[in-house]
């Protein structure tokens, strides 16, 4: 059986975790690999913790959801509590450094716990809107599940029409990916 990379992204509605998952899934698909992405959705349109389950492999993928992720990313304090159950001994747990969660509430059983200053970097160095793209870069660097080029191509496919109108946006998004990769 081929190795499956299991990725979970969780944040507040509107933080863009679903976009990150979709771009990664499409990047993998564009490379001819198998990807399965499923959003965890409820009745609310916004507010509440938004979770994305993403799996990437060289072969067809089994069940859409999983018990333990290889990388679990939490972008808000509520998200930390919500996704703790998906962390196992081989999991890399990533959270935003600005999250106000007591040390003892972070998962203790993870292989690695990484705090990355994505929100701060977005605000101070780039633009708050590319916060999630920094996260995308971080996931790419941490998992190497797709290349940064494939991720950039997938962004181009999704937002190309916006980049046409404002090429600076392209540059900003690409910078955000690179920045995110450096943070890991």
């Amino acid at each position: 059986m081929a190795k499956v990379t299991k990725i979970m992204l969780a944040g507040e509605g509107g933080q863009g975790v679903q976009s990150v998952a979709q771009i990664l899934a499409e990047a993998a698909d564009n490379e001819g690999r198998e990807a399965l992405y499923i959003p965890n959705f409820g009745v609310e349109q916004r507010g509440g913790v938004s979770i994305a389950f993403l799996q990437i492999s060289d072969e067809r993928i089994g069940a859409p959801k999983f018990d333990i992720g290889d990388i679990v990313v939490a972008l808000s304090s509520r998200a930390v509590y919500r996704v703790k159950q998906y962390v196992g001994e081989n999991t890399v747990f990533v959270y935003d450094a600005s999250i106000d969660v007591p040390e003892e509430d972070l998962p203790k059983n993870a292989a690695k716990v990484l705090a990355i200053p994505a929100l701060e970097t977005a605000k101070n160095e780039l633009h708050p809107r590319v916060f999630n793209v920094i996260i995308l870069g971080a996931v790419v660097a941490a998992t190497k599940v797709v290349t940064d080029k494939a991720a950039k191509d997938a962004i181009e496919k999704k937002l190309g029409y916006k980049f046409e109108q404002n090429p600076k946006l392209r540059e900003l998004n690409y910078q955000a990916i690179d920045k995110g990769m450096q943070l890991v």
Partner: protein, 361 residues
């Protein structure tokens, strides 16, 4: 206006709801009748985007009762008509689908199961099995395909129109909220290019000529005055159904020959079941996999054979035994012990199935 949506085979990456809309266009569906409900909304959205480009039609009705009855009307007018619904919408849909059973109308309905009872969740379940196979006041004279992935969603949506019009039983594609909303790859194709002949629809009413003179009159009834008359009509229906069942029933199985435990599942749950059985086999465990693709009619002979060969049947489903009831009815009197693993309204992972199978080995 281009004539065909799919001119050559290609790999695509999309949600299940989008897959259904594409498949319906590819199958030559002419009109969709629908009323919005999560998680099937995007079938309507994508259909309404595609329909004007390929000369197809759409009618949004005031509720699911109406969506079902307009689908019945569309079929009677000789149109390849379909609808899609979920949960409480499926409940309302039972009345028109029962009429379709009574009049042998080839309606096609896509069901994206959500949690129940009532409004419950908009997310996922396998709790619409009883209703989709045996709902309404009737005898379950329906064909129900339970799909597991996007390729099947595409293949069986096309097939649903064909078997419906060939055998004249209302036909259902039973998906779920996960399949509706998730994205994965599949290959889309033009069925005729693959040698799949698309069964032509024909009108039930409004045919040319004078009834009784140029042609047989069309008597399509859902009302009878005399008990015996209804009884007789139903006997013919049962005969047709039994004949059809042998040609239509489908399943997937592997490693069942020497298996002590056979994992039985359907739909999206069978993805995890397949993986779990593969993993356990690698560890040398005597586990097998069986999955009916049609829940109506079931592959009865194969199920009976398994139930007399294996020691245990582990029935896994995201409902409190709705699928198990169908199976138990077929295998009644067989030697295998039935072990339930029910998680109503909740997804089931590969890890959970493997652990449970291991526990009962």
């Amino acid at each position: 206006m281009s004539e065909k949506l799919i001119t050559e085979e290609k790999r695509v990456f999309m949600t299940g709801n989008e897959v259904v809309a594409w498949a319906a266009v590819a199958a030559g569906a002419e009109i969709m009748y629908g009323y919005p409900i999560t998680p099937q909304n995007e079938i309507m959205h994508y259909w309404t985007r595609l329909a004007p480009k390929y000369n197809r039609k759409f009618l949004q009705t005031e509720d699911e009762l109406s969506a079902g009855f307009t689908t019945v009307g569309g079929v009677m007018a000789g149109r390849k008509a379909f609808t899609a619904t979920a949960g409480p919408g499926n409940t309302l849909m039972q009345e028109p689908m029962s009429m379709a059973e009574a009049m042998r109308l080839p309606t096609v309905a896509i069901i994206q199961q959500r949690g129940g009872p009532s409004t419950a969740t908009v997310i996922y379940s396998q709790q619409e099995v009883t209703m989709t196979t045996f709902g309404g006041n009737g005898e379950g004279l329906r064909i129900v395909y339970s799909t597991a992935n996007h390729q099947e969603l595409f293949d069986y949506t096309i097939k649903a129109f064909n078997v419906a019009w060939k055998y004249r039983f209302p036909t259902f594609v039973l998906g779920d909220g996960y399949q509706a909303k998730m994205r994965e790859s599949l290959t889309v194709y033009d069925p005729e290019q693959r040698g799949i002949e698309l069964v032509k629809p024909e009108p039930y009413v409004g045919k040319p000529g004078t009834p009784g003179v140029d042609r047989e009159p069309g008597h399509y009834r859902n009302t009878y005055n005399v008990e015996e008359e209804l009884y007789e009509v139903l006997q013919d229906y049962f005969k047709d159904y039994a004949k059809m069942a042998k040609e239509v029933a489908e399943y997937q199985a592997f490693d069942t020959e020497d298996a002590d435990v056979i994992v039985l599942s359907h739909g999206v749950v069978s993805r995890g079941a397949k993986e779990a059985v593969e993993q356990l086999r690698k560890e040398g465990k005597k586990v097998g996999y069986f999955r009916p693709i049609t829940l109506r009619p079931l592959p009865e002979d194969q199920l009976k054979e398994l139930a007399n060969k294996a020691k245990k049947l582990l029935i896994v489903e995201s409902a409190q035994g709705q699928f198990a009831k169908l199976i138990k009815d077929v295998i009644y009197g067989s030697s295998a012990e039935v072990v339930p693993f029910f998680k109503p309204g909740v997804g089931i992972t590969t890890e959970e199935i493997a652990a449970k199978a291991n526990e009962i080995l």
